[in-house]
């Protein structure tokens, strides 16, 4: 798409993997949270990725981004700028329904979904959050699952960072043609 189109693809992957790692960290931090601001136990979140396709001419991508609508707190033009609702990390990451960064051939976070599985119930009548039957509802977060997810995110992040290094080397050696 531009001078470094291939690097933008890797950049989108790095961003997406970082979001995934942050969601895992949020899940692990809130594994014992029985009451959130809504009054219900913490719901486990997970991210959904989607491939962002397109044959990536600059005009096409720009036109696509501008027609996506400007209903966001910030908007901009060009590479990696897109309309998106932003919210704090504690409330979960809501990426909206837009193809977030538009890099052709890259990956974008399609959404952060709440897991609707039933909460874990433990009997603890002394707990202030206990229901009338004495059971407290805990989020159903398995630390092993989260750790494996985190390892996957770390490994993908490392691979994409190596891809960026390789791409940088390729561009540098093509600059050496003129020497």
């Amino acid at each position: 798409m531009n001078l470094f189109g291939v690097m933008d693809v890797s950049a989108s992957a790095l961003r997406a993997e970082r979001v995934r790692a942050e969601v895992v960290a949020s899940n692990m931090a809130n594994a014992e949270t029985t009451r959130t601001a809504d009054g219900v136990p913490y719901q486990r979140h997970h991210v959904v990725f989607e491939a962002v396709g397109g044959d990536g001419s600059f005009q096409q991508t720009l036109a696509g981004q501008m027609s996506d609508g400007m209903g966001g707190l910030e908007s901009g033009f060009g590479n990696g700028f897109s309309p998106r609702l932003t919210s704090g990390l504690a409330g979960g990451l809501n990426a909206g329904a837009l193809a977030a960064n538009g890099a052709p051939g890259g990956v974008a976070v399609a959404g952060v979904i709440s897991d609707n599985s039933a909460p874990l119930r433990r009997y603890d009548p002394g707990n202030p959050d206990a229901g009338p039957d004495g059971f407290v509802a805990y989020p159903d977060i398995n630390p092993l699952t989260e750790m494996v997810d985190l390892m996957g995110a770390t490994r993908s992040y490392g691979m994409n960072a190596s891809a960026v290094q390789a791409e940088k080397n390729m561009v540098t050696s093509s600059l050496d043609i003129l020497k």
Binding site: N2, L3, G56, V171, S174, I177, L178
Partner: protein
């Protein structure tokens, strides 16, 4: 660069050397390409060099403005234009040197 070659043409047109270096003036070029292949070769070299140069400038501008030109394409096009230019320059140098040698001959 075409300045050097038109200088050559002026000297040729003065009739000092018959046909060998009649260079780049219009009528002279037409006559020369028929009688002497060398001046025609030089002329086509100049034209090809400026065509390659234009192509290279186009490729580089494409890279700068973010259209889809790959960087290695721009580098290769620039290198080709450079090599063509160096070649034309060397040929011109040899031609001028040979002319000067001939002018220095005593009869």
């Amino acid at each position: 660069m075409s300045g050097f070659l038109s200088g050559l043409g002026v000297i040729g047109g003065a009739g000092l050397v018959d046909g060998a270096f009649s260079g780049m003036s219009e009528a002279g070029a037409a006559r020369a390409t028929e009688t002497v292949p060398f001046a025609g070769v030089l002329k086509t070299m100049v034209e090809q060099t400026s065509a390659l140069d234009r192509q290279a400038a186009q490729a580089v501008t494409g890279v700068l403005s973010g259209q889809g030109v790959d960087i290695h394409d721009a580098m290769i096009a620039t290198q080709k234009a450079d090599m063509a230019f160096q070649l034309a320059l060397e040929v011109r140098n040899k031609a001028v040197g040979a002319y000067q040698q001939m002018m220095g001959m005593q009869f």
